[in-house]
Structures are given as C-alpha cells and as structure tokens.
C-alpha cells in the first residue's frame, strides 16, 4: 500500500513536471510563430494544430497531480458536517463509481488512440500522426483513476480524510 501510494505520487509529479515543460514549449512556439509571421513573413507551419495537441498533452499529464492536491472543484461543506463514519460511507459511495468511470474513460480514449494508430490517421495540415497525444491523455486518466483508488484506500484503511 505504501509503495502504491509512493508510486502514484511520484508518477503524477513526474507527469506534472512534463506538463509544465510542454506548456512552456507551447507558449514559446506560439510567440515564435508570431515573430516569424511579423518579422520574416514566414509563420511556422502547423502551429495551430500543434498547439491544440500540445495543450491536450498538458491537460492529460496534469490531471493526476491536480487530483492529488485536491484541486478538482468539489463541494465539501455538506459532507464536512457529517459524523466521520457517515463521511467515510459517502466517500465510498461517490468514490467507487467515480473510479470505475475514470478507468472506463481511460480505456475508451486508449482504444480510440489504438484505432487511429492502426488506421494511420494524420492531422490535416502537417500530416502528423497524433495518436501519441491521445495515449498521453489516456495515461492521464489512468493515473487519475488510480489517485481515486488511493484516496479510497486512505478512507477505508486509515480514515485520515484528506
């Protein structure tokens, strides 16, 4: 359990770091494109497409860390008033379906990516095969689902609600 916890925390931090680097690169690409367009009259081909894909990667990679830090908006002022045993029950009642659903979403996105990879679909302007970005988003949802398992474990085992 401890290893699982540690692994999830490490993986989501690493993914978030990668998300930050990709975001910085995206902003640089956008500005470079403006400069190229304005000064050299030569915009960077495919910026529009790439920025979209890169943003998807940023979001996917940052999902899990965001969940670990409890940053996905939720309304807790009602459940906060419940006694601890009740609260544990409600956490399980909403956590389990959320976890199953997130695994399902991850699987769905993954199989969408596999379909595109198999059929060789590429983007329209720069003909880039973009299935790797889809896999990144699927990986993000997979780790996100695992953070929900982690918080469920903490509820059941420790009860130290956080």
């Amino acid at each position: 359990m401890q290893y699982f916890e540690l692994a999830i925390i490490k993986i989501s931090r690493l993914m978030d770091l990668l998300a930050g680097i990709i975001l910085a690169a995206t902003a640089t690409l956008v500005v470079a494109n403006i400069l190229g367009r304005a000064l050299l009259n030569r915009p960077i081909l495919g910026t529009y497409e790439l920025v979209g894909f890169l943003t998807a990667a940023v979001v996917g990679l940052a999902l899990a860390r965001c969940a670990l830090e409890n940053s996905h908006i939720a309304i807790s002022f009602l459940t906060d008033k419940l006694p601890p045993s009740w609260r544990r029950f409600t956490e399980l009642a909403v956590g389990l379906p959320a976890m199953v659903f997130l695994f399902f979403v991850a699987y769905n996105i993954f199989s969408y990516g596999s379909r595109l990879a198999a059929s060789g679909v590429v983007s329209s302007t720069i003909r880039l095969p973009f299935y790797p970005f889809i896999f990144l988003v699927a990986a993000g949802f997979l780790v996100l689902a695992m953070t929900v398992i982690l918080s469920l474990f903490r509820q059941v085992v420790g009860g130290e609600a956080k």
Binding site: T55, A98, F101, I109, I134
Partner: protein
C-alpha cells in the same frame, strides 16, 4: 421515460453527487455519459467519452486558458502586485478608509495582468492586509475589501471566467474582454465609494494613513503602473486590434511579464517553476470541467430541457426585465453554493437561449451580467471562494467576521448590476467599436 423526465432526473442525480462531495467535473461527465447513453445509443455515448473528450482538450480555442493563467501566476510571483499597491497607497492612503480604497485600485490594475479572481485576492491580500493591520483597520472591513476586490480581476481583462463563458456561449473572447472594462472600473469606483462612506460614518473602522508629497507619488508611478500598462497594451491591445488570437495574446502576455521581471532582475528559475506548477494544476482543473461540461451539455441538449425552458419563458408573458431578474436570482442562489466556473458551464446551455433568443438580449451583455452575479457568489456564504482565500492569508480572522464585512460590497455590486441593466451600453459600447 420521455427525454425531459430523463433530463430532470439526470440533473437531480448530478446535484446529489456533488452534494456528496464528488468533484463537479466527474459528476458532470458521469451523469452526462449515462444520460446520453440512455437517450441515444451506447456506441454514441462511447464516442462522447473518447473522441469528443480528446477533441475538447485538443481544441486550439481552449489553449488560451493555460496562457492567461500562466501570465497571472507569473505576475503573482514576480511581485508586480506590491509595486502597484505602493503607488495606490501613496495616492489615496490618506483618505478615510484610504488603504482599503487603495486595495481596490490595486486589484483592478493587477486584474489587467491576471485572469483569476482567486489569484488576485491572494496576491493583494498578502500585500494589503498587513498594511491595513498596521494602521488599525477594522479586520472585517480590511479582509472583506480584499475578498470583494478580487472579483474586479474577473471583470477586467484578461479573465478566465470570460474565456469560459465565451466557450460555453460561442462568443468572441476579445469582445467579451472589451465588454468587461467599463463595468470593471465602474464597480471599482462603487467599491471605493462604499468604503469611503463606511469610513466617513465610522472613522475608527478605517483610520487614514500617512500623506505623501507629489514627488514621492510621481516616483511610485514608475513602479508597477508603467509595466502593467505596457504588458496590457501589447498583449490585449494586440488582441483588440486583431493582430493576435486570444491564445497568442496570452503567450505574448506571458513573455511580457517574464521580460519585465527579468529587466528588474527578479526572474528566477524558482519563479518559473512555481508559476508553471500552479498553472498546470489550475489548467487541468478548468479543462476537465470544460470537457465534462461538453458531455453534460450534450445530454441536456437532447433532453430538450433548454427548449422547454425557452418555451416556458416565452409563455410567461412577463416583461423581459422581470424574466432576467428571475434568472439572476437563480444565479445568485446557486452561486452561493457552486463555484463560478462550474456554474457558468452548467447553466449557460439552459439560460442563454432564454436570454438571447426569447428575450432578445445581447449575448455579450448577458455574459458581463452573469460574471457580475457570480462575482457576488465568491463573497457570499457558505462557499465564497474569495473569502476562503483571504482567510488563508489572514489566518487569525474568523470566517464569520469576513462575511460580516461584505455587505457594503454586495450593495455596490447590486447598484452596478442595476446600472448595467438600465444602461446596457456600459457593457456593449466598447465591443461595438470593434466593427
């Protein structure tokens, strides 16, 4: 079961799930998926949570969100806020309630480089609260003035809430940004007036600070104001002039803030790392919410609830003013419980057709009004986001005391709303110049 009933049951389940502390984004996606599967086919619903979810993330028009968020966090860590406060403090600090008045000016100016009300409240709170404590300000007035002032950052562009409204309502982000400027400054003046009147009546709440000579004031002018104006002019000026897409304006803003900070010798790797970490976290939160709202919105659309709402509003035979007041009242009540972004994403598909198609209001104007109403929500109990942020800065002040102090500001927002409803040009004039 007919689609309407399924839609209503879906909405009920959604509210039940979020009341039980399920993150709002999960609940929207979950209910949206099952509702859509029920009303159409399972394969169609599968596509919704794979193809469409990815397309929502990989949408160029959404890439503007991380850019403006990063710009705001960079400005936050770079200390632009404290230089702005220094200026406002030297200009108006000597008036009754002057430090709280200076806080409003700082929030408005900082809002011009920061798109988030919570970041604005956190930045200005950390700077202004210790100063107000030094001059023995009433803690209820000082904390509430920061919480309320944070909402100015939402109206004054750039603004993440306007971007999200623009996405939900399919409106131009540039026009929405322009529309927020006059109402934003109007609200700032009304806030200042409210503070002045409160402090005039009970001087012990906001004792005047020191008075500065004009030379000192002019010196302070060089501090933050100049850099903010330059960044604003290049980034948002470029957007308004049509040179940049919103995403480009955001990226230019990021580089603008970084450059200005570097020129002052303040740009460290630490600042970049911290601001990036905050940005990716906030971006993930907002984009998951937006993508989930797309799924939920599909379900609501095929349940035909929006049409039924529009028909119902048309059949009411009430003056437009009464219907819009009713809608605002609903927003005000929901805004007390649900976060502003989530609330806008959730309700725009339902209320926008009523306001625009049935009542004939301008969708840009409606956006400004809605943003202003949710700005009330961030300072009202029980889930006033900005009040919690300020509480995080001023840990010793009880929440109730902050909520007690927000009354003058709520009245100011209300007056501003009445003015905006009576004179829609306040919001629509600047965007109309774009044509």
């Amino acid at each position: 079961m007919n689609p309407m009933t399924a839609g209503l049951i879906g909405i009920l389940i959604f509210f039940l799930l979020i009341a039980l502390n399920m993150p709002i984004a999960y609940a929207m996606a979950l209910v949206g998926f099952f509702g859509f599967a029920y009303l159409t086919t399972l394969p169609a619903a599968f596509a919704l949570v794979s193809t469409e979810l990815f397309s929502a993330f990989a949408n160029y028009s959404l890439s503007v969100i991380p850019m403006f968020i990063w710009m705001g966090f960079l400005a936050f860590y770079a200390g632009i806020g404290s230089r702005l406060y220094n200026l406002a403090y030297k200009l108006v600090g000597h008036l009754p309630g002057g430090l709280a008045i200076a806080t409003q000016a700082t929030c408005a100016l900082f809002g011009a480089v920061c798109g988030s009300n919570t970041a604005t409240a956190a930045t200005i709170g950390a700077i202004a609260l210790p100063e107000m404590q030094k001059y023995n300000y009433d803690r209820s007035l000082s904390t509430a003035s920061v919480a309320a002032g944070g909402a100015l950052g939402v109206l004054i562009p750039p603004s993440v809430i306007f971007i999200v409204y623009g996405i939900a309502a399919e409106q131009s982000v540039g026009r929405l940004f322009l529309a927020g400027i006059i109402p934003g400054f109007l609200l700032m003046f009304l806030y200042m007036l409210a503070i002045y009147l409160v402090a005039r009546r009970r001087p012990e709440l906001g004792p005047p600070g020191p008075k500065f000579s004009w030379i000192e004031r002019l010196k302070a002018l060089r501090g933050g104001l100049f850099e903010v104006l330059v960044i604003f002019a290049i980034s948002l000026g470029g957007l308004f002039a049509g040179w940049f897409t919103p995403t480009e304006a955001g990226a230019v803003g990021v580089f603008g803030v970084a450059l200005v900070t570097a020129l002052k010798g303040g740009l460290t790797l630490e600042i970049i790392k911290k601001s990036l970490a905050d940005t990716t976290r906030t971006t993930a939160m907002i984009m998951l919410l937006v993508a989930s709202a797309v799924i939920f919105g599909r379900f609501i659309a095929i349940s035909r609830i929006p049409f039924a709402m529009a028909d119902w509003a048309a059949a009411l035979d009430l003056p437009a003013f009464a219907v819009i007041s009713l809608i605002l009242l609903i927003y005000l009540v929901l805004g007390c419980f649900i976060d502003a972004l989530a609330l806008i994403l959730l309700t725009i598909p339902i209320f926008l057709p009523v306001a625009v198609t049935v009542l004939g209001y301008d969708p840009i104007w409606f956006g400004v009004i809605i943003v202003m109403v949710v700005a009330m929500g961030v300072i009202t109990p029980p889930v006033g986001m900005n009040v919690y942020i300020v509480k995080g800065v001023a840990k010793t002040v009880p929440l109730e005391l902050i909520f007690k102090g927000v009354w003058p500001f709520l009245i100011a927002i209300f007056v501003c709303l009445v003015l905006l409803i009576s004179f829609p040009q306040l919001a629509t004039f600047l965007p109309s110049l774009l044509h």
